[in-house]
Amino acid sequence: MDSNILAVREFARDYVNGGAGQRTAERRRTIQNAYFALTGTQLRKTCSTCYIEAIFKIINAMEKQPSRYQLKRGAVLFAFGDASKTMTNANITDELAEWHLKNTRGAASLFAVIPTDSKTAETVEMLKPNEPAEKTPAAMVETVNKDVVNKPTNKPKPATVKKSTAASKRRPPQHKTKK
């Protein structure tokens, strides 16, 4: 873990309480560096409480179990009638993300990061509009195999496009538009 983040965790309580000599320029620099290490963005310093807000952000981020999945900013996934399934980047977990990828249609497009070893997104992509979302990949494979077995082998070949015949020359193509 970044040494600046560790340092911030150590002096966070003193800094927030704001005793004499606690809010030094050196500590502010440490907070800035820790914030950058954690978020990849520079800390905005235009407000009076920016450093304290940054400390809370750093501490909360360290306490949260990191998820391998990440939603696009602002995206919310929810299940009708089940508030416990509502998911944003603030409460995302691997289990919840995988549940939505399996059960919520179109969820994959709202993810910014899906681990490469995740098969759940592919499952959703394979589903047809009329199929139940709970269908497992194994069941789908079975359906596909059944279709292949039931397919008549002596099916006539699809008609090829014929070249223009004498009849088609006589009758011009009909248009649907009304005059």
């Binding site: 900013r73 995206a75 919310v76």
Partner: protein
């Protein structure tokens, strides 16, 4: 004359009094950062945005909070009647109570930007689901631009702060009135979605 839409509902008087004005906090988003392919609208109402999502690009795009003071943010919208097509003007006036180099740099940057504004109305309807009138999105089609940026050093009201007006381009106006933003079927989820847009 060919008309493209017909009136299909009644408007009944809602006895709850409206509350004027908007909140002091608004959210600015660069219009190019919005992932419009992933954003969704209500199936029955194209003016109700049900998912506002930013692109997953690097550097990570964010919404930026602009905080006013004592009802310093103002909004108005109006129909612009055209010969063949109608359009809408969206205006957002906001004031900045500072003149630091950081603020001046911010103003100088936003003058060259196009951005969407998410504002919070004081009025919240009580119809179920409650809260659909709270958040509005201005400049969805093209984004707004800064049309006025004025600082009068001796101004008594602002005490030397900045007075800015964001509005539609002179050429291209919006095709719709401001959109309502309502995510996940309740106002709490909408607020958490907006919080997720922030840095």
């Amino acid at each position: 004359m060919a008309t493209c839409s017909r009136i299909a509902a009644e408007i009944l008087y809602a006895c709850a009094n409206m509350v004027a004005g908007i909140k002091d906090i608004a959210y600015f988003i660069n219009v190019d950062d919005i992932d419009k392919d992933s954003c969704t609208f209500d199936v029955d109402n194209p003016l109700l945005l049900t998912q506002l999502v930013l692109k997953a690009t690097s550097p990570t795009p964010y919404a930026y909070r602009v905080e006013g003071h004592n009802y310093s943010n103002e909004h108005d919208t109006a129909l612009v009647k055209g010969t063949y097509y109608n359009s809408w003007e969206h205006n957002f006036r906001f004031r900045i109570f500072d003149n630091s180099p950081d603020v001046k740099l911010w103003i100088n940057t936003i003058v060259g930007s196009r951005f969407v504004v998410v504002q919070e109305n004081n009025f919240s309807n009580t119809d179920s689901p409650a809260g659909r009138t709270v958040f509005e999105v201005l400049g969805w089609d093209f984004g707004l631009e800064i049309k006025e940026a004025v600082r009068v050093a001796a101004d008594e009201e602002l005490a030397g702060g900045w007075n800015l007006l964001a509005g539609c381009s002179e050429k291209l106006k919006e095709s719709k009135p401001p959109l309502a933003l309502f995510v996940g079927g309740d106002i709490a989820t909408t607020r958490s979605a907006i919080a997720d847009l922030l840095e």
